[in-house]
Symmetry: C2
């Protein structure tokens, strides 16, 4: 049996234009080059990326079922935008999934927490220096690795999807002002619970950590009643 074959096959993966374009559009959305609600002009984007409209459309359709893009008949593809209530819904779901991830992580806590420990330390530094930007990226990484520990590809896909959708909220900035010190204390407690293999406690802490993120957002967003322009 030559098992190298499948490896090579896996390596060349998705080298189709559509996939590359999809990734491109996704990064455009993430870094704000395409902002929430904006229309995606196929012809312009095609010229910009040096491809024809076919792959653009395929990519958009792919992103549409991830919830990042919305198709309107005869009007085209739009970057989706979500309102406050939807963002709150996402927080709730993330809370449940994060709790579950922590539980699983605690159940199979054979090492693997070293990266988290490291990130936790870095975040402490960022918190002390009041470096919100650094904390923000580290926080994303922390939560990503947390999910990885659960070793459930679908759980990861779901969580990733939710976090991506998070960027479709117009006032993204409102999500970026955590009480860093408090937030990182919670991270530490979660870590400890996982390392101790305390599944129930890990689940509870993970869930309430995201919930308190939600509460922080609600407090920050208390002024805006409706995001209508």
């Amino acid at each position: 049996m030559i098992s190298d074959g499948s490896d090579l096959l896996a390596l060349r993966k998705n080298n189709t234009l559509s996939s590359l374009v999809a990734e491109k559009i996704e990064t455009y959305i993430m870094d704000g080059r395409l902002s929430a609600g904006e229309r995606i002009n196929e012809a312009v984007l095609a010229r910009e990326l040096g491809v024809s409209r076919g792959p653009i459309r395929e990519a958009a359709r792919l992103l549409s079922s991830q919830g990042l893009v919305e198709f309107v008949a005869n009007k085209g593809a739009f970057v989706r935008s979500i309102d406050r209530d939807e963002l709150l819904e996402i927080y709730d779901l993330r809370a449940v999934l994060t709790g579950y991830a922590c539980m699983r992580a605690a159940a199979r806590h054979k090492d693997g927490t070293s990266i988290l420990r490291d990130l936790h330390k870095q975040m402490s530094d960022a918190a002390e220096n009041n470096d919100a930007a650094a904390y923000y990226t580290l926080n994303l990484q922390f939560h990503e690795h947390l999910i990885n520990l659960a070793q459930s590809p679908r759980l990861k896909a779901m969580t990733d999807g939710l976090i991506k959708e998070t960027h479709l909220f117009r006032q993204v900035s409102l999500q970026r002002h955590p009480d860093m010190a408090q937030s990182n204390i919670e991270h530490g407690e979660i870590l400890a619970a996982i390392e101790n293999g305390d599944e129930k406690r890990a689940q509870k802490l993970g869930e309430s950590h995201v919930r308190s993120g939600k509460k922080r957002f609600e407090k920050a967003a208390v002024n805006l009643v409706s995001t209508e322009d």
Copy 2:
């Protein structure tokens, strides 16, 4: 303000060929006309549906990010197939999400349970008559309405997605032999908890109900070690 405009717009929704084709392919997968692992021949399908290959490809890309279809470079689109372990993973996730749904349902239990009561009754009849086929469809409906009560579109989308993936397991039949009587007793308990507004209990029961479904499957599938052909 003329608000009829948006309604009309919502009505004409997704009347694009790609969406229709996507639905078509999905039903083909669900009813087994396209079986797990099978390749989707674009030209043939296009001729069959009387459209060109473009919409077919867009539809396939859409389904690919739902996990129903898999693209391999230069080889085309394949109906995905999942193995035993993946199915177990799906059970676990569904358990968590169902539990959460039941909790939310209990929290907002203003009526709405009448349909569930009705379904519960019908399922009792099906169980008595030992009508597994009827029970199977009723069960799907029951769980769908359960999720609806939670009033969270994303939660519903996630659960729907997981249930669809369920059909990608080759021996679908292995999932269709519940202990109908016992299963429906659990349904009744869940219903009662929701109607009493007992969130915690509803969550716990919802979760363990799906878990016991998982256990039943594991028992039924104990013979197959690996689904390798």
